[in-house]
């Protein structure tokens, strides 16, 4: 029930930020993500930031994908 996409915080003015989402810019409310800073990536839903995207976790997820890739390759190599 939720179209939300990641956007980069370009500049902040109080509780409103100019956010760049895939090349498009929009003013987004930061009232629910007051900890967001310039350069952060936030998840935007209906013009409102709902979460700061955790860089470390994002990295971890991508690393997990790589791990699974290796695991599956190993399984296949074991002759399945």
């Amino acid at each position: 029930m939720c179209l939300a996409i990641p956007g980069r915080v370009v500049s902040i003015d109080g509780a409103v930020a100019k956010v760049e989402l895939g090349g498009v810019e929009r003013m987004v409310s930061l009232q629910l993500v007051l900890e967001a800073r310039e350069g952060d990536y936030i998840l935007v839903h209906a013009g409102i930031g709902i979460q700061v995207i955790d860089e470390e976790e994002a990295k971890a997820t991508l690393e997990l994908f790589e791990e699974i890739l290796k695991e599956e390759a190993a399984w296949e190599a074991e002759g399945n």
Binding site: L3, L21, G22, G23, V24, E25, R26, V44
Partner: protein
């Protein structure tokens, strides 16, 4: 005559009407046929079959990145002629202008029409102007009718489409509608994305020259790529499968689609021609497009098949989904 605004009088058929036509409209286009100010114009002799098309333009806003209603009114009609492989011979125009419309805006639109028509080239040989009361029009509506001549031996029709044929397009999709969405500012999205509005007569001429066995062509305007492919499927009885990764979508357009939850396949274009050619001619077709316009990013985006007569998309995961035309306009969504 009021130097700044169109008045109801300008549409009355009286002196002011004639003044408007003679002093404002005709001088911009300035050709012998138009100078005679007749209702019907001879268009000279022409070789081959004659085709005719008409279209009306009601876009808001009137001026947007990449074009305006005037440029659109020429391109749209020229491109409809081009889908038949026709060389545009002449255009006529009808204006319905709202009382109070700024003359400076009218001039701007006329000059844009003239420049676009010249670039084809196609003369505007006759026209009509009406003025409606304030609030009974949306600034200006434009109607253009075009006549073209199709070279001997050329007949583009979806009925000629065959399984195995390649579906070619001359560039990325969705730019026009994305640009209008931003220009209308209903959702406060800022983007430099511009309409792709352009005349495609030259492109089609180049393609037909190099690929005389071109099956058919359609300009993907309202309803987008999906709409014209659905038309071709219905007319030919064959199915079309698109390759999702081959369909180019500019990142701004993708961004707008992602934010508003819209599908670029259904978004309007004003400078995109979908061309179906025998598969062995696909590369020749692409080269012809790029020779005509080195900036074009043409490519094969799908193929015709004889399984079910419907439009499907093969995703990058090897799965496929059916593309069904939406009931009406796409609306933005949050879910």
């Amino acid at each position: 005559m009021n130097e700044e605004r169109i008045l109801l009088h300008h549409g009355s058929g009286g002196r002011l009407s004639r003044d408007l036509v003679q002093n404002v409209i005709v001088p911009v286009f300035d050709n012998p046929a138009l100078r005679r100010l007749e209702d019907a114009s001879p268009i000279g002799s022409a070789l081959g079959r004659m085709v005719m098309t008409t279209d009306s333009y009601v876009v808001q806003p009137l001026f947007f990145p990449g074009g305006d209603i005037g440029k659109l009114s020429i391109c749209g009609t020229v491109n409809d002629l081009a889908t038949a492989g026709a060389t545009p011979v002449a255009l006529s125009v009808g204006f319905i202008i709202e009382e109070g419309f700024a003359l400076s805006d009218l001039r701007r639109i006329l000059v844009s029409m003239k420049n676009t028509a010249d670039s084809v080239p196609v003369p505007l040989v006759t026209g009509d102007t009406k003025v409606v009361e304030k609030t009974k029009g949306d600034g200006i509506y434009i109607s253009t009718t075009g006549i073209g001549s199709v070279p001997e031996g050329i007949e583009l029709t979806p009925v000629k489409v065959r399984p195995g044929d390649a579906v070619v397009i001359n560039g990325p999709i969705g730019n026009h509608e994305a640009s209008i969405i931003c220009a209308r500012n209903d959702f406060s999205l800022q983007s430099p994305v511009a309409s792709d509005c352009a005349p495609l007569h030259g492109l089609m001429k180049a393609v037909i020259e190099k690929v005389p066995h071109t099956r058919c062509a359609r300009d993907a305007t309202r309803g987008g790529l999906a709409s014209v492919l659905t038309e071709i499927i219905e007319a030919s009885g064959y199915g079309i499968m698109l390759d999702e990764d081959s369909i180019r979508i500019d990142s701004d357009v993708r961004g707008i689609c992602d934010i508003l939850g819209m599908d670029p396949l259904f978004m309007a274009n004003e400078g995109k021609m979908v061309i179906i050619v025998p598969t062995e001619s696909a590369q020749t077709c692409i080269k012809a497009i790029e020779t005509n316009n080195p900036k074009a990013r043409a490519g094969v985006i799908g193929e015709v098949h004889d399984r079910a007569p419907r439009l499907t998309v093969r995703t990058r995961y090897g799965t496929s989904r059916i593309v069904t035309m939406p009931m009406g306009m796409q609306l933005p969504r949050i879910c």
